[in-house]
């Protein structure tokens, strides 16, 4: 039962991660890409918490690590969206194929 539970969790988080990958690859809107990255972060967090519950690791490491991941994710979102907004001011677009100022 525990084994089944454990593997189900990992497969579910794998699915969620792949949905995030799909979103990153197909979204045109830069904000949509950032949202897909949030989905991938959460898939990783589910995995870590599952390891904390079902594996003999250090005490509570699977709780502390996601806290730092969430912290970094919040900082990343703030800076990423700031960059997108500043590009939006210059280019008047949030679509990634319009952001080609550095292309040769």
């Amino acid at each position: 039962m525990n084994n089944l539970f454990f593997y189900t969790i990992i497969i579910v988080s794998l699915f969620i991660f792949l949905i995030g990958v799909y979103g990153v690859l197909t979204r045109r809107n830069a904000i949509g890409i950032l949202m897909s990255i949030e989905i991938m972060f959460n898939a990783a967090n589910i995995n870590l918490v599952a390891f904390n519950k079902f594996m003999a690791l250090e005490e509570s490491i699977g709780i502390i690590f996601p806290i730092f991941i969430i912290t970094i994710a919040a900082a990343e979102t703030a800076v990423g969206l700031a960059l997108i907004l500043s590009i939006y001011r210059k280019v008047k677009s949030v679509y990634v194929e319009k952001m080609d100022l550095l292309k040769w």
Partner: protein, 118 residues
């Protein structure tokens, strides 16, 4: 663990059911008779100016960033507050350092005038 949160789950189900039931009943009972006047945005009886999807002022985003950064601070403050009594001075100094570094950011925003609404 699930047993402790079962009440929350039941609450969630009831709240969802209540909302959905209300909407479905309204959908079944009402008569549909839309016109342009009725579909316009409701602004307390005033004539609506522009659409609901307006462009916001960039200033709002600055305050949203400040809010998120100090929101993150709160999640570190909470476990610290739980063990504060056991750990004593060391934990206090650590947290003062933590808060001091973040207050530097707030001071920067203040100095640069980002906190002022022009």
């Amino acid at each position: 663990m699930v047993n402790e949160y079962l009440a929350v789950f039941i609450f969630l189900v009831i709240a969802l059911g209540f909302t959905v039931a209300g909407l479905v009943t309204a959908f079944l009972v009402r008569n549909s008779n839309p016109n342009a006047e009725k579909e316009s945005t409701y602004e307390c009886g005033e004539e609506p100016v522009g659409g609901a999807w307006i462009q916001f002022n960039m200033r709002y985003y600055l305050f949203a960033i400040l809010f998120v950064i100090f929101d993150v601070e709160i999640i570190f403050l909470y476990p610290w507050a739980v063990v504060f009594k056991d750990l004593g001075l060391f934990a206090f100094v650590e947290m003062v350092l933590f808060l001091g570094i973040l207050v530097l950011g707030l001071a920067y925003c203040w100095k640069k005038g980002h906190l002022r609404w022009e």
